[in-house]
Symmetry: C2
Subunit: 462 residues, 2 copies
């Protein structure tokens, strides 16, 4: 077992070694966003150690992407396995020349946690790529239905698509929500609506943006108002589908809008989205890049909704340590081979890591742990919010595992003060602090450490 | 050293075990494009072994992406290194929390082979992503110049980009060439013009497509005609830049159009592109995803051109075993942090493999070997083309290392017959067979084996 560390920060953050290393790096690789430079060999479990020897409890987890702790022994074993070494040195074009093991790696890994109602997978390398592949599947399905089953492509379609012109290259849209984040490729970025810094100066598709419900907190005190807000948003979604300048082939939604500020909606809202998308033949894509793999206290964030029928596609990345999308409907496999294709189609090395992550989550029941610890953490934060009502506002994430966030004045200042007390924590949206601990975060960290440091910071700022 | 294998095919291709495994896989993962299922543990050097025990000389190399042989000992050593294990189990958000080693890994790896005139890098996970990142850099640079240095973003720009509307989300274009392949994301696919199967039903940007020169072979017999063709194409490029409905911010070109049929142009043509792009302030992006890393007999395909000034960006993937783009001009770093950014920004595990690949190429002088072996191979094929003029047409790739291709009737049939004789070879374009051996391919394979099998096939089909 790895050595258990403790919070300990003895320099400014970033410290002198971090600054010096970062400066050298910046001459060849843009290092302006570096918080600190890390000694990953010394990092362990929930703790990240920087090159100045500072030790932080990490509740940011590489932008919500470390699942089961630094230097996790089970992952080290997977990294040293013969199948990993082969995957690293013999990287396949997996669509043409899959390994003898590929089928088993998928079935004993990712497919074990396939969301209810899905049983097929397409692998990718990032959340952005996963979403774009899902959009392409949605567009091809839309045109397949429009064309009629068994109808072959026309010569006009074949020639016009090479000109980026209709009818081969059609005007079709993916709908997304205000404040969403779905990635940074040209398609995924067209659906991302959270911040100008992601989008400015980049050409985009004229696709519809719907309003995401702005719920009021505490939820129990605003039940009627919030229900009306969600109803209004659902009506807008339907209106946009019916009135947009081109057909809406798909809709993408995060279970909790993460980068955009940890915005939640109720199960009823998502059931409404499922109903309206089914009514109008719009593919529903659930973007679980940040919510998937347990952090909400269920394996998939959308399992909180109890939908009457499953989403059409579910995308994943981050804590999965690989990426891709799950689906059930075989019509989402394009009518011909090579339409959904690329050289590598993901990375088996990362899929092997993912398999070890899944084994670790399932064997240690970490999703249940996350639900339990999240309740403790939420209760602690609720107490702090009563004590410091101006500094912890709109606390959210009740019964959502450790997927907890709150609004505050000067989130950057709070995060910076927390780092100096040995807690690496992040922000999202405009004035939100988000908790993204790993799935191995437990009561000792939640109760004793994190809110204790937070209490100190809040007190000093009150 | 790995055991040296020989060609040996004892079953139909794919064999019964390949078929059975592929069928099982197809229930969960689209396996329609599978040629055969591979036993990577038994594969070695230039030879790939399938699950039926068939051994093939591999001159397709995972769609041109295996650089230095299956189970290369130097790559195995890198895969077993402590830094690899850490990179696999502690995957960083490298823009925020780079490892202490990241600077050295880049400088002693990829940056050692940075194309002349470039000294900075942005890492990615695929060729498609690398190209899209380059497009984004080109768009941000264009608007930076238009806006004026030091000018901040306007509130109108900031709000409109979230609506996917002007001026924040501007109409700007990337020009590419007919028959090009630059990837399958929504931006890169808008520049891909090779085949309908890649593009049909997918919305695209209204970006300009220029004609790529259609050279006549043998080159020596058509010098004047080919020069006129290239001049005509260059004039068209300039005309498109001046007349397109929106500004052309960038132009992307492959040194040899690969997926589109192994189409070559002369150094004079590419110098002309450099001149016209500089004249009009258009960023020139050279897509070396397939040509980079030695196969043309130079490390970078564009080094054959002896440009008077270097390209603005050079993208890479495939044989690099990782991806990204090189650049020199610091103005291609956006004016603010987080504009060119994503959670992982590539994969350090794959960058470590890349470093081992580079060490192997440089220490064994494999680029020079590839140039030498390519000459032998070309001469052999030239002889065969004289013997079978109807079956080997438009032989191309002289003095381009092993980057050799020819047109033939029924390329799929030829490739299939070659597989049965133990040579795994691929096609491109409409009627082209392309050779993409690894950099460790040598005279014994070129002279004795490959063209020998090819001679048999051609003879049987003559």
């Amino acid at each position: 077992m790895p050595h258990v560390l403790e919070k300990s920060v003895t320099t400014e953050v970033p410290g002198p070694m971090s600054k010096a290393t970062s400066k050298k790096l910046d001459a060849v690789f843009d290092a302006r966003a570096v918080y600190f430079v890390v000694d990953y060999d010394k990092s362990s479990g929930n703790y990240i150690v920087d090159v100045d020897g500072n030790q932080y409890l990490d509740v940011y987890s590489q932008i919500a992407s470390i699942p089961v702790g630094y230097n996790n022994p089970a992952l080290i074993a997977a990294a040293q396995s013969p199948e990993m070494i082969s995957a690293l040195v013999n990287r396949p074009a997996i669509g043409n020349f899959p390994s003898a093991q590929w089928n088993d790696i998928l079935r004993n890994g990712l497919l074990k946690v396939a969301p209810p109602g899905t049983d097929k997978i397409f692998t990718a390398q990032s959340g952005s790529e996963a979403n774009e592949l899902a959009y392409k599947a949605a567009f091809m399905l839309y045109r397949r239905k429009e064309r009629g089953e068994g109808q072959d492509w026309t010569t006009e379609e074949i020639s016009s698509c090479l000109e980026n012109a209709k009818p081969g290259s059609p005007d079709l849209a993916i709908m997304s929500f205000a404040n969403s984040f779905h990635g940074r490729g040209f398609g995924s970025l067209s659906t991302t609506r959270s911040k100008a810094v992601h989008k400015l100066d980049i050409p985009s598709f004229n696709w519809p943006k719907a309003t995401f419900p702005a719920l009021k907190y505490p939820l129990a005190q605003h039940a009627e108002e919030n229900a009306a807000e969600e109803k209004r948003c659902l009506q807008e979604v339907e209106k946009l589908i019916l009135s947009w300048h081109c057909p809406v082939a798909g809709l993408i939604v995060e279970p909790i809008q993460s980068e955009g500020g940890d915005n939640h909606a109720s199960p009823a809202f998502f059931q409404g989205l499922r109903d309206v998308t089914q009514k109008h033949g719009v593919v529903m894509i659930v973007d679980e890049v940040q919510t998937g793999f347990g952090a909400t206290g269920k394996f998939w964030g959308h399992e909180h909704w109890n939908l009457t029928s499953p989403p059409d596609m579910v995308t994943f990345s981050k804590k999965a340590q690989t990426a891709g999308y799950f689906f059930g409907n075989p019509l989402l496999i394009p009518d011909k081979a090579y339409r959904q294709f690329n050289t590598w189609i993901g990375d088996p090395a990362r899929v092997i890591v993912s398999k070890a992550v899944i084994e670790e989550i399932l064997s240690k029941d970490l999703v249940a742990q996350c639900a339990r610890v999240g309740d403790v953490l939420y209760t602690e934060l609720e107490k702090l919010s009563t004590q410091y009502p101006e500094q912890i506002k709109n606390l959210r994430g009740k019964n959502q595992g450790t997927y907890i966030a709150f609004d505050t004045q000067d989130p950057a200042g709070l995060v910076s003060a927390m780092k100096r007390l040995g807690v690496n924590i992040g922000t999202c949206g405009i004035n939100t602090v988000r908790l993204r601990p790993m799935l191995i975060f437990d009561e000792t960290h939640g109760n004793m450490t994190n809110s204790h440091a937070l209490g100190k910071v809040l007190n000093s700022r009150a």
